[in-house]
Symmetry: none
């Protein structure tokens, strides 16, 4: 088993799969791999996406190795005819493939544990490039492979992220990290809700543009995802302590101008931040949703351990459900409409009372594409939070299609709960 004695400097990532060349899919594995390689100071110089064609892939492998000293391939390790990565690497490097009986046995046992016999097709997954180290797959049948060719390394990883990630983490821990003496890239992400990208840019750019002149310089990039703006800082430093202190200084300068809209400076998601605040206060929460259809509850319960503070939720899609489950008076809906601030408030208050919880959130709106009117166009959403001694309600108009309106509304609901928890 060969391990390169020097840390690679320049990597190319190749994602294999014809489905990644359709208009419907995009390669996201490379983002994870890039992040991990950058941490070690390894630059990604190119990313390539190719289909399930052995000749094309073999050509790409040859070319990529001419411009890099680390080639990371993802995908194409499955058991089917479409899975050509093993064969293409074999072609490109002129290396034979040998069947590894231990892998055959491992795959056989994996199927046996589920009471199944190994399908004959899976046998090709045991083909190993001569001289390669086998990378066990804890979450699937396809093992990975790691191969050294002179000063160059080739890593074959499976395509499904839950199989690829732990396998690549193992490659990092066992081979790459020990070689990465010296400067590493350190990162910090600041997350902001409730503002537009140009607004955040205008407020923070005069501040973060100065970070680039610090010693060592802090690089900043700004990234907008729906309902959330992120500032990504990175700094290259030998000592973790130096890096942490300079990143802390950058963070506090941004906090000074962006203030309360910053909800996270340590990578936590909005639902994690809300969960941690609930846990710290010992509060329990319940949700009363109409247009978000359960998305707020689902996001809250994505967090491990959330059963400690999520008591219940209700999706009151029909008016009758709003009355039955939340005690919203029919007269209120007739007077103001089901999408209105009073009804949002009544949903939150009714939920809080019936569930006997400390805080409840209510969301009612028009996600579209139908149901809009001149006075309440698609995207109109009322969000309310009720707690023992008070309540708050706000009306919004969110842009975009149905799923985007649902997402914005859930983001806003969680952010309002956060603000209530932080202020009180």
């Amino acid at each position: 088993m060969g391990v390169p004695p020097l840390l690679p400097r320049r990597a190319v990532i190749v994602a294999v799969g014809s489905e990644l060349l359709t208009p419907f899919r995009t390669d996201t594995n490379s983002l994870f791999i890039t992040s991990k390689l950058n941490d070690l100071g390894i630059e990604v110089v190119a990313k390539v996406i190719v289909g399930d064609r052995r000749d094309e892939l073999a050509a790409v492998i040859g070319e990529s190795l001419r411009r890099s000293d680390l080639l990371v391939l993802t995908g194409g390790l499955g058991p089917t005819d479409d899975d050509v990565t093993r064969l293409a690497v074999s072609d490109a490097l002129g290396l034979p493939l040998d069947e590894d009986p231990e892998i055959v046995e491992r795959i056989r046992r994996r199927f046996a544990r589920r009471g199944m016999e190994m399908p004959a097709v899976n046998r090709v997954q045991a083909q190993v490039l001569r001289g390669a180290a086998v990378l066990p797959n804890a979450n699937g049948t396809a093992p990975g492979q790691w191969l050294e060719r002179g000063a160059r390394s080739v890593v074959l990883l499976p395509g499904p992220p839950r199989e690829m990630r732990p396998m690549f983490e193992a490659v990092l821990a066992e081979w790459l990290q020990p070689l990465a003496r010296g400067a590493r890239l350190h990162r910090r992400v600041i997350k902001i809700a409730g503002r537009t990208e140009s607004d955040v840019e205008q407020v923070t750019q005069p501040v973060y543009s100065r970070f680039a002149t610090w010693q060592p310089p802090v690089a900043t990039s700004i990234l907008a995802v729906p309902g959330q703006i992120e500032l990504h800082f990175s700094v290259r430093a030998e000592s973790g302590e130096d890096a942490r202190s300079i990143l802390a200084r950058a963070t506090s300068e941004i906090l000074a101008v962006a203030g309360d809209d910053v909800f996270s400076t340590d990578g936590r998601s909005l639902e994690q931040v809300v969960g941690d605040l609930l846990r710290r206060r010992g509060w329990r929460i319940a949700t009363a949703e109409s247009c978000t259809g359960g998305l707020v509850a689902s996001r809250l319960t994505d967090v491990p351990g959330s059963s400690d503070y999520v008591e219940r939720g209700v999706v009151a899609y029909s008016n009758r459900a709003k009355t039955d489950l939340l005690g919203v008076p029919e007269a209120l809906m007739l007077e103001h409409g089901a999408v209105s601030e009073p009804v949002g408030e009544a949903m939150a208050a009714g939920m809080r009372e019936r569930a006997g919880v400390d805080v409840a959130v209510g969301v009612t709106g028009i996600a579209g594409p139908g149901g809009g009117s001149e006075s309440k166009p698609v995207g109109t959403v009322a969000v309310a939070v009720a707690w023992a001694s008070g309540s708050v309600v706000r009306r919004y108009l969110f842009p975009g299609g149905r799923e985007q309106v649902k997402w914005f509304a859930s983001q806003t609901a969680l952010n309002m709960v956060r603000q209530v928890l932080q202020e009180r």
Copy 2:
């Protein structure tokens, strides 16, 4: 101005920009370009992402032209030192760049309209590859270029989507569409739930492997996403009718072997299929969720118009909520545990009765990472469906982390509802 007399067959898309090689950004321009090219029957055989390095990019251009007859480049046409696309194409093809005084004038006027003088750096944007046609940019300063070299074409487009898209639409309308007499690519997707990829492969491969020998041949690729296996067919045909009939034949041959596990043959998602079945019967549905935390309701309500058939949903996370909201007897939970088939069944039945709907689904399980035991490990989930004249309940053990267990459970719940609706 050279225009290739024949429609290109095989395209490579190259996205230029070092920011696309960070962990935070992904190239999305290529999805738009792929979709437009596919419509004309032009296959995308590779996508490449490279940084702002002239020598790297020139090498990639040379290699890409060896495997395609159409090369589409996006990005790197700005005025700064980082914008190397023009220079790299010039290097790769051995073509000089000439300044086009008309473009200089156009850029100058663009700045003048905003009361500004043209910065000196912008002058490089008027450099045109000898023999190329200039593509005007309605939304920015960087013009595009279109170049014919023998049987091969190279298109240079700007990176910002709002500049790239209209420019590429013009290329399509003026050059490619008129050439696209004849064959186009036609697609069909078959979606299957409740089976593993290798299981589907074993059953369908002997069937679809024959499709490749048909006239015209149907290409098949198999794609696994969590809880769902997809077969993607594509066929190149001149007549839409021929394509439809051959794809229908392929579909029915797969249906004959995969049967009831196929839930969609027309691109619809599982939640859309369930919604359409509910609407056709005039049934209303309610959801009673524990471990999925609202995900089933949220997916059902992702479908436009779902308020017609989604009555309500309940997220009964605590035992008290299961009793309060669904009437699950405490004794039942004590006897069997909250995660058990009897409790799942009681949740579905209680929901159906209380909401007065035609069908209800109940989900209770252990999403993890905590809460598992030897007899009920993390991933144990009971799913039940209740309707007026019967009910069904099944217990599953799903693999993976919390979010994956939630996803598998929601997929299984929707699929069980589909089966109930289709069978009765």
